[in-house]
Symmetry: C2
Subunit: 374 residues, 2 copies
């Protein structure tokens, strides 16, 4: 077994992890509910209706928080995407989505046998998804297949560049063509305010281990009244059981901790502007070091930052640890979360760091650059 010392000993900037860090209240509840099936003490047959712990309130609150009509707890965003695709599509049917999508969007479609058409980003260096690209692609699918796609999926903020794509404009285009619209809010919900119906979303998926500060695996699948009966259809035999959820999903501490985390999450989304401010400050300073550039839309609107770093690649060329120098130099300074060996480019996230930590993070890079360049 490898002991894990992360939050207490290191500043972890892995974008996968910064939004999933737990606070002490969540950790307390995690221990109370650590046993298998712990939330089932008072179950009457439906996970989302359990009153002790108050999962019934949780799902209602999540619907309100996300501005959707009905929510269910899932085992992650990908499982929610699959549930929607599996409900709406037959093998051979088509989906339109953005080219910055997560790999699981593709794999979920593949599992159903659906075909994906991608709206290409503008490419290097901003990799922007233009909303009008959805219109063009829907038209293209219509002309190629004689029908519109069965589903549109947008990665609200993608995991490669941290680009925030205008969901509302895409929601409007989808409405115009009567294409159901699934918003993947894995990198937005829990960090910033996401109002699903306002954005025109028919379906919204969230990742709580990515964005709500809880242990996984847990996500949210939310929808509107129009789709409730179809998406959350019940078993023919087990009238209380959702077919797409196989009955119950997160059957353990994950859902109990989400109850504990939600009040904190509701507060933290209000401070999103400051998170963006920290990220922008960091970008600004990093670019000041020399040949380092933030990719993606500028100025960034998210904490997930992708840098192109020829400056560091050059250092690596002459360093006896080659490209690994950066990882070790950062680790020495108590900073982790970058991929070892990666110096051409890297991703990091400043989410949840204090201003002091963000400054320390920058100063670490500054120190390393000064130490090894020229």
């Amino acid at each position: 077994m490898i002991e894990r010392k992360r939050e207490e000993y290191y500043i972890n900037v892995n974008p996968l992890q910064t939004g999933g860090r737990t606070n002490s209240e969540v950790r307390k509840v995690a221990l109370q509910y650590v046993d298998g099936y712990s939330v089932c003490d008072y179950c009457k047959g439906m996970l989302h209706l359990i009153e002790k712990p108050p999962i019934c309130d949780l799902t209602r609150e999540l619907s309100r928080f996300l501005d959707m009509d009905e929510s269910r707890i899932t085992l992650g965003a990908r499982e929610g995407k699959f549930a929607v695709i599996h409900t709406l599509l037959q093998p051979g049917d088509t989906i339109v989505c953005d080219s910055n999508r997560h790999y699981t969007t593709y794999v979920a479609a593949e599992r159903v046998g659906a075909k994906i058409y991608e709206v290409e980003s503008t490419g290097y260096p901003s990799y922007e998804i233009r909303p009008e690209g959805y219109r063009e692609m829907i038209e293209k699918i219509r002309s190629e297949t004689n029908k519109p796609p069965k589903l549109a999926i947008l990665t609200h903020v993608d995991g490669e560049y941290g680009n925030l794509t205008p969901a509302k404009e895409i929601g409007e285009i989808c409405k115009e063509y009567d294409v159901p619209f699934l918003l993947n809010a894995a990198y937005t919900a829990g960090r910033m305010e996401v109002k699903g119906k306002e954005l025109g979303a028919d379906f919204l998926v969230c990742s709580c281990h990515k964005g709500f500060g809880v242990p996984g695996a847990i996500g949210i699948l939310a929808t509107t009244n129009r789709w409730v009966n179809e998406l959350f259809r019940k078993s023919q035999v087990y009238k209380k059981k959702d077919v797409e959820l196989l009955g119950c999903t997160a059957r353990s501490l994950a859902v109990a901790t989400l109850i504990a985390a939600l009040p904190y999450v509701k507060e933290r989304v209000k401070k999103w502007d400051e998170e963006v401010e920290k990220a922008r400050w960091f970008v600004d300073r990093m670019e000041g070091l020399g040949n380092i550039t933030q990719l993606g839309v500028r100025p960034t609107q998210h904490d997930l930052l992708r840098f192109e770093t020829p400056l560091l690649r050059e250092i690596g060329k002459h360093h006896r640890k080659k490209g690994y120098f950066l990882y070790y130099e950062l680790e020495k300074r108590g900073i982790i979360g970058l991929k070892p060996g990666q110096t051409d480019w890297f991703k990091l996230s400043t989410y949840g760091l204090t201003w002091d930590q963000v400054k320390y993070l920058y100063e670490a890079f500054e120190e390393i650059v000064k130490k090894f360049s020229g």
Copy 2:
């Protein structure tokens, strides 16, 4: 939030929960890995190949432990069943399974659009599944549909009566008819030794939050070399990603705790005979109280016990708390896990209790019966 005080303050006999209780080592690791995506620190693209923590060793060890060729971590037994059914069957295809099956076997088949044919149990009072019933049902399906079923599923021990059905005999029948055989070991693996290939299983699913003493949601899906490529087929685009698993599954403390739990689980299965002995002792004493009968196969071969309890129903008729008296009387004595109001019959599990606790449990019933009857 409802504070949960269970293991320290109560004897919990809920059959769903007794095999999922965590030990202190597991709790320690749970806290280390409590943050979202905590096991992804050193990921190279495949959950089951992560070296830190050693998930790669875990899946290899699980395969050996379960006598199967290859294993993957899933989000639960039901998710494993769905993955197998979704891989092997098309809508309209047929499955043969036992009538004591878990509801999720039905719902997983329903989600695929498969049709289930059930081998009926012998009914009251033993509810036994005769292996020959599988032969008869396969023959029936053949004559009705002109082909054998695409899959046979057996609930190794069911959750209603705790009946252990001879899997090996059914495995042999399946082999004879060339029907792939899925063994649902949710109530056996982790408690008793389960040797999948020896039993003729092509697929084996386990529930670790039910049987391996860890928080969920986490399960195991294991198979033989014959099926590896089909069941664990990779994405066309993402060559490292399992389509049926949507890439990665239990992405958090659940998998880290399973690493910590496995050495204990390997030891505890060796003590299974004593667990059965405790259960039988308890049955014997309970039946000695009067009109109380253990249902299911006798003598029981499992810790999950179902009792028919006219004696307690009679007491409830005259008690001012009606059928709820039993729940409250047990709770007063620090015993929980029975459904409130249920006195016609109930299920409980003696798994993992010490002899002293089993005796205390019996004495509580004895005391309650003496206090209120006659």
